[in-house]
């Protein structure tokens, strides 16, 4: 089985009949759309994932341009829907985990939620790609959360206070260096996990749906479709739920990590 997969991913060995896993990877893998020259050794070509991010941005700008006029003292129509989401994020995530201090981080966290959500959902559109199933994209977002949280922590507590907060109060002297080290590394681990969680979930979503459909081709029988297609549809529906949940989790964990960085002691 594994051998079969590797053979079909090898372009040279891929025959006209062996398109099994090829389309799976084509869907989840990034590829260049517009070639651009390298700048400072970095290939700045516009890839499908960059394009999807821009489409997400365009959708969001359109959405908020529409919603903004309908949100006021008395909101109406579509503005109400957008507003209820904003109110939920503001109350249940930002104020719940960051309190009064959360006001400063509200624009970042709201943007992160809507951006991730739109990218996730766009990935479900046939023919589109999921920018959030690329580690570079989720990694960038996690780094932003990291930079925002840690900078705010340093600005609030001072550089000494910031490093002191890695050492919980009441730790005996001889374990203090180890605890400090673990806590310090923990910050990086947490943010790496933030990036990988989103990336892996979105990636797995598509891999599993496409694998179900791939079964038809692998077994070379239309009968398999009787099971594979309903299974794929069910998983696609689950993917809608996961797209929303992962956007929520990313925002919530970002708020939690910023909150930890701001906390006096933890």
């Amino acid at each position: 089985m594994l051998g079969y997969w590797t053979t079909v991913t090898d372009p040279e060995k891929q025959g006209p009949d062996d398109v099994g896993a090829g389309f799976i990877l084509e869907h989840v893998q990034d590829h260049v759309v517009i070639e651009l020259p390298t700048v400072l050794g970095i290939d700045m070509s516009i890839t499908i994932h960059v394009l999807m991010m821009w489409i997400a941005c365009a959708i969001l700008l359109l959405l908020f341009a529409l919603a903004r006029r309908q949100i006021g003292l008395v909101s109406r129509g579509f503005g109400n829907a957008v507003e209820s989401v904003v109110v939920f994020l503001k109350g249940d995530i930002i104020e719940a985990y960051l309190g009064e201090e959360g006001k400063r981080f509200t624009p970042y966290l709201l943007t992160a939620f809507f951006f991730v959500l739109t990218c996730n959902l766009l990935g479900l559109v046939p023919g589109a790609a999921t920018a959030t199933s690329n580690l570079a994209v989720t990694g960038t977002l996690a780094v932003l959360t990291f930079l925002i949280g840690q900078t705010a922590g340093i600005l609030k507590k001072g550089i000494i206070g910031y490093f002191k907060s890695f050492l919980p109060a009441g730790v005996p002297g001889f374990v203090a260096p180890i605890v400090f080290f673990i806590e310090f590394i923990g910050v990086f681990t947490k943010h790496s996990a933030l990036a990988i969680r989103l990336f892996a979930n979105m990636m797995a979503d598509h891999l599993i749906v496409l694998t179900f459909l791939g079964l038809i081709i692998i077994f070379k029988s239309y009968l398999v479709a009787l099971l594979a297609v309903p299974g794929a549809v069910a998983l696609e529906l689950l993917a809608v739920l996961i797209a929303v949940i992962q956007a929520y989790i990313f925002t919530m964990l970002s708020a939690v990590f910023i909150g930890i960085a701001l906390a006096e002691e933890h």
Partner: protein, 170 residues
């Protein structure tokens, strides 16, 4: 399966994509912060203050209304009490006045009867006195006539008759 993922470089991080992600996201953040989050959040805040103020105003109005009602009830109660008092007082005054008038009338009538009685008795006394005086005069006159007649015997009868006549006339 895992092998496929590793083989196809799904875990690779393209620096170009990192740069594009950062630029795209930060631009989106800046634009949305200015054109979406600020107006939406301030609208939410405005509504919150508006609702809070409305509730406060409503509570204040309710409190005032309760106060007014209480004061009106007190005024009504006072007025009712006062009217009862006035009525009571009026009735009492009327009662005393009636008794007074009755007493006075009784007294007056008694006094008048007394006065009439006195007058009657006085008049009677006076007439009795007059009669008495007249009787004396008459007897004197008769006596004097008798004395005169005795002088002239023959004329005795005549004198008495005349006298009686005179008496009748008077």
């Amino acid at each position: 399966m895992l092998f496929v993922i590793l083989e196809s470089n799904l875990l690779a991080v393209e620096p170009g994509l990192v740069v594009w992600s950062a630029i795209t996201f930060l631009l989106l953040l800046l634009v949305l912060r200015k054109f979406a989050w600020k107006p939406i959040l301030s609208a939410l805040e405005n509504r919150e203050t508006h609702i809070r103020e409305s509730i406060e105003r409503a509570e204040e109005a309710q409190r005032k209304a309760d106060e007014n009602l209480k004061s009106y009830q007190k005024i009504m109660e006072d007025a009712r009490k006062e009217s009862r008092e006035i009525l009571e007082k009026g009735r009492m005054t009327a009662e005393t006045m009636r008794e007074e008038i009755l007493d006075k009338a009784k007294e007056e009538s008694a006094r008048m009867v007394e006065k009439a009685k006195k007058e009657i008795s006085l008049e009677r006394e006076k007439s009795l006195d007059e009669i008495r005086g007249l009787a004396v005069d008459l007897s004197l006159a008769a006596a004097s006539k008798l004395v005169e007649r005795s002088l002239k015997d023959s004329d005795h009868e005549k004198i008495v008759e005349q006298y009686i006549k005179e008496m009748k006339v008077s």
